[in-house]
Symmetry: D2
Subunit: 394 residues, 4 copies
């Protein structure tokens, strides 16, 4: 009896190549899985399923991981206002773990001895996939045919043809990875530091040239409404994406250190993540203390980095999530945002837990908790260490 | 013989009130000083000088502190990519120290026994001024008449009138503070969390509706050219301000914790600071290692906070500056920026010290320093702590 | 009818002075309170009560806050391995908040309009007390007679005599503050940097010259047994104190920055806190990951600093406690400690959650999770950023 | 003509095996090098040289790296008060880099194509050596025979015998690594968490049962005298080691995370490092501000971790060194230390730059820079954020 392999399958050239390869060359029973973290339409998912069958997989399974991805991942990216290098909402890096985990659950469900993925040997994703399998299922053997064989695109096409699969494989000019938390765009331009992507490389084009003001509602840190209409956080993200992408909002280029020690550069379009992070942050500036803001920043920055670097399973991540959860109990209110071509502004907010409350005074105008004389005493005391220092070092 | 007081004088209602008050009520010889950190034109400075004379000051001195402010302050704000709460370039808070220091030098020069400023008892500036005098000149006595007397606007006007000064004091709708590193805008709207400033409150209005691409050159971290034309950093800032403010770029609202423990909210327009910080940061992402970027962020964030909170004299600031200087030796190159109405994008860069160099491979495509097999070993080793953890806790 | 004041009363000269002063000069009805955080025996408490009556207080209340102090304070000092400046277990600074809180509860219970304490104007304690009252009961007025009047010791004695109180007030050579978490010792020697306290200044003297090995049991981070005998954490602390002080263990000198900006120096003897912190830390090194240890350190260090600086009420403290609690679920096991004159060593431990488990290999000897070849790959990948850096900068 | 290999040679079993192996099986011309970082006497070095000759190496070179190791390594460990996990002075981990660098210089000097070391595949040292060669000499090929072959001790002895080398190879019960910055001790006891090393496992035994007080002088952070006698920092370390090891001071057990992801445990005896770090730290508490102490701690902790993890070449290390250097300009003075069996205490210090200066008041007694009234104002202002918070959340 043949041994089973579960292949993470997207229907692209690389993973399509893997199906006949795993059947013919590795003599395995191939079960394909596509994990949807928000990037595929029903129609696309159907097309992927059909292709899997044509290529000879014994079964194909579509797993909807969107809610899981939001609950266990995106939610904390919002709580933490996480933008890697102050820029990138981790659109791609945050979904890989949830995809790997879903694949692994399928591996266990059908009792497969092998798991396969289409990663090359030159990127982050191989590490993100392998690590989950290594840690949670050390007995399952990993196959990454593209990494192992180092074939060229043409060789893969030729192999598929020689096995009777004559799909058209025009290389799209840009490599796109779409998910609930944004879309990455790679092209020849992003391979060098000075390359500038043309307008048309981005998935959304500006169709609205006006100005629009919207209101985003948060409850305990989670986005729960748009313009007063309640909806699930996932739907807030999807609706906001639709609204903002008409304006071409949310494009930028991420340059950062990869897990494997090189610098990497990738463009992205992530209107909903960027707007939600900035709106959430504004609300926090009003309801959290300076100390809370400082430590949230520290822990969140690290959380984002560990997530980016395939360390979602690190137990400190659970400790940080506990901290973040605890900080969100009063992050409830509404934020005003303005959308216009290519740009959004987070304008203002209202919340019942506002620490900027005129009851206590108005900054620069009047203060009700202490007098000018108190501030003189305050300044004398806080200047004391420096007064001593400069007297000693005069 | 009368004792001398040096008054930090801007020609506004508060400091105008102080002149006759210090002369008549405190029986002092008043010497006014205006310290220009980039916010005043020659004509404005001349007007201030004239007003001082009319009000009866014995001398008036104009001090140009722009270069000092750049060299000892702004330079490090650029090196550190400092935006307080990820938003505010410290437009106002960074210049107060340099103003106080210049005032203090004048105090020492003329041997004054007193120093006076027009701060109220409800803001940060009183602390920023007092602290410098407390620390560096504990023997000089500080007078802050507005804080001490708590007079209303009308009472100040009446007092001036009763002393024969009938200037017109129409309260401008917005309180503006302009300097080399940006302009703050306060109004009734910024006193509450939900207030939104109208378009016309901002000093610059959109006059260019097109798109423009520019190149900013950096040398060891400092901005030294625009579109290839060499100029001093101060002139880069000024020219960039001119270019970008035609597009209405650089507006935002800062919400933060004041030195005196309240939340404060202020709008600002700071096109040159925001663009320079983002452009400088992009260049750093290409030439610094991940570790350098991490620790620069940590130290810079703190540097910005201490500067904001009147702690420029804290000796750790000098230690941090040494660190920052040391990181900038290869931050040399050119950055491409796109300007359009309300928005700018930092597009790309070129530098001789680029760590993202195709010689070593292209991210996700090919890697020349190690093989896929090496990455398998790498992943096995880095997954080891988690593998142990999940085996123990299974 | 007279207004009421609650006076925090220790029976020492300062607070004894306050009783007749508050009655006669401030015309208040005086209710004294002693809050025991572990430093007073029943007999001492009885003596304090009697003195209060003699001095004319209308009521005296003894509040036992030991358990509260442990549950809400010391527990987190253990979880966080907190030693300020790597030295001081916060023996005094951690108990002040709990004392102030108990006093405040009594103020509310009897509906007093005033609260009084015996702090001088030159130390941390005035801030620790005032801040709790300012924050939680802004309407209650604070009186600190010693700070207000600035009397000398002799003037206080004379005032007491003139009111008919002829206690003997020999100044003890050393000022001692004792509590559950250790004892501080101040003297003329600690007022200057070069002063060395003599042996006899310390409360415990060496009476055991041998060597003793003990076992401390922890459960979810809390100390729960000694040599296998289960007891409450408070009793572990007390018993351990008894055992270790026979050896003169736990003495050191803390030098640090006070809340009011001076440097302060104080000796202390805190055998149980030091041993528990070091033993707990050892256990954590075995059961927590490197990342958990790192972030626990960061947050705990800050937690200790905020507690020291009177900021126990800061909401971030609750967030940090949540984080710390979450890290302690597997900090369960037994630690071997050796006691000898002046010295203890934390020798070894055993725990069911040990991440140093021979199942996975023995460090330096053999490794079961990967091969030498895997480590070669690992090293190639981690050396990649530096290889690039040194090639570029060659 | 044969290709050359430079072998890092200690004369122990593993590296002795390597000589004939590299000659016979790899057909290389073997040049041995011993790099002394303070652990070898002249006589030991001579013995190593003789053994190299007997084994057939074409040349043997002894490199004295003690000064380099101090100047570029230990100096910063002192400046940073670095004790990994609050325990371990990095006795072994800090010297490996300097050994590798010296070996590499020899490789370049004689133009060798290969470099070899005796590390196994289960420890940190393989990574520390490989990484230096990978980064600074990517063209030099690395051979680690013990790692590659995975031979047992007996197989190595047999191979040596079969090649005519009949040394006696009694396995010492404890594996000792000695250097200027301390000695590590491994044995069967350190392989499990509960093992306790016996007294005799430690290199130094208690021979002095008295008490001794000494004075250590520092100049700009470096140790420069003992009991007033000037000497080089290296000699301070050596002399202090001699004095303190008579008391059996400086033993402890380090438990930590290895580079390769396991937990490791090792005993050590490092009297001079521990005393110098604690004495240096005390001096810093007196001459540096709270902010300086905080950031020194942060950076030093990281510096130690990176050094431990083979990242000495990371450019951020140079940036941190610049910072540390800058903080040391006033760390000058003398520290009193008491030595007794197994224990030392850092008692007091004197320095011209003491920020704890009675000129400004005596902590808790009297304050000369501000009044009690000033502190009331100070407390009102610092309690303001909490007052607002608790009013909002009441």
């Amino acid at each position: 009896m043949k041994q089973k392999v579960v292949l993470a399958f997207s229907g692209g050239l690389d993973t399509s190549f893997c199906v006949p390869y795993l059947i013919n060359k590795r003599n395995l029973e191939v079960h394909t899985v596509i994990v949807n973290t928000g990037g595929f339409s029903d129609q696309e998912l159907k097309g992927i399923e059909e292709r899997s069958k044509i290529l000879g997989a014994l079964s194909h399974t579509t797993i909807d991981a969107v809610n899981d991805y939001y609950e266990k991942g995106i939610r904390y990216l919002i709580f933490g206002n996480i933008l890697k290098n102050n820029t990138y909402p981790l659109s791609v890096s945050s979904e890989r773990f949830f995809q790997a985990l879903s694949v692994l659950e399928h591996v266990k469900k059908i009792g497969a001895e092998y798991v396969a993925h289409g990663s090359t040997g030159a990127g982050n994703d191989q590490v993100r996939f392998d690590l989950v399998f290594e840690v949670l299922a050390p007995d399952v053997k990993i196959i990454a045919p593209i990494r192992e064989l180092g074939l060229s695109r043409q060789e893969e096409i030729d192999y598929l043809k020689s096995n009777g699969f004559n799909f058209s494989w025009e290389k799209s000019k840009y490599s796109i990875n779409q998910g609930l938390w944004g879309t990455s765009v790679g092209g020849v331009e992003t391979l060098k530091s000075s390359g500038i992507l043309p307008e048309e490389a981005y998935p959304s084009q500006v169709s609205d040239h006006g100005v629009e003001r919207i209101k985003i509602g948060f409850e305990k840190g989670e986005p729960v409404s748009l313009n007063g209409e309640k909806m699930s956080p996932v739907n807030v993200i999807r609706t906001l994406h639709k609204w903002a992408s008409r304006f071409g909002i949310g494009r930028d280029v991420h340059v950062g250190d990869t897990i494997i020690g090189t610098k990497g550069r990738v463009a992205f379009e992530a209107p909903a993540p960027l707007i939600l992070v900035k709106a959430h942050h504004l609300l926090e500036k009003h309801v959290l203390t300076k100390q809370q803001l400082y430590w949230k920043d520290q822990l969140s920055n690290w959380y984002g980095q560990l997530m980016h670097e395939a360390q979602y399973l690190e137990p400190v991540m659970r400790n940080i999530e506990t901290f973040l959860d605890d900080t969100q109990q009063f992050v409830t209110g509404e934020v005003d945002v303005e959308l216009r071509p290519y740009h959004f502004s987070v304008l203002a907010c209202s919340t019942d837990y506002d620490l900027m409350n005129p009851v206590f005074g108005e900054y620069g105008e009047v203060n009700k908790s202490f007098t000018g004389q108190d501030v003189i005493g305050f300044t004398k005391v806080i200047s004391n260490p420096l007064k001593i220092y400069y007297t000693i070092h005069k």
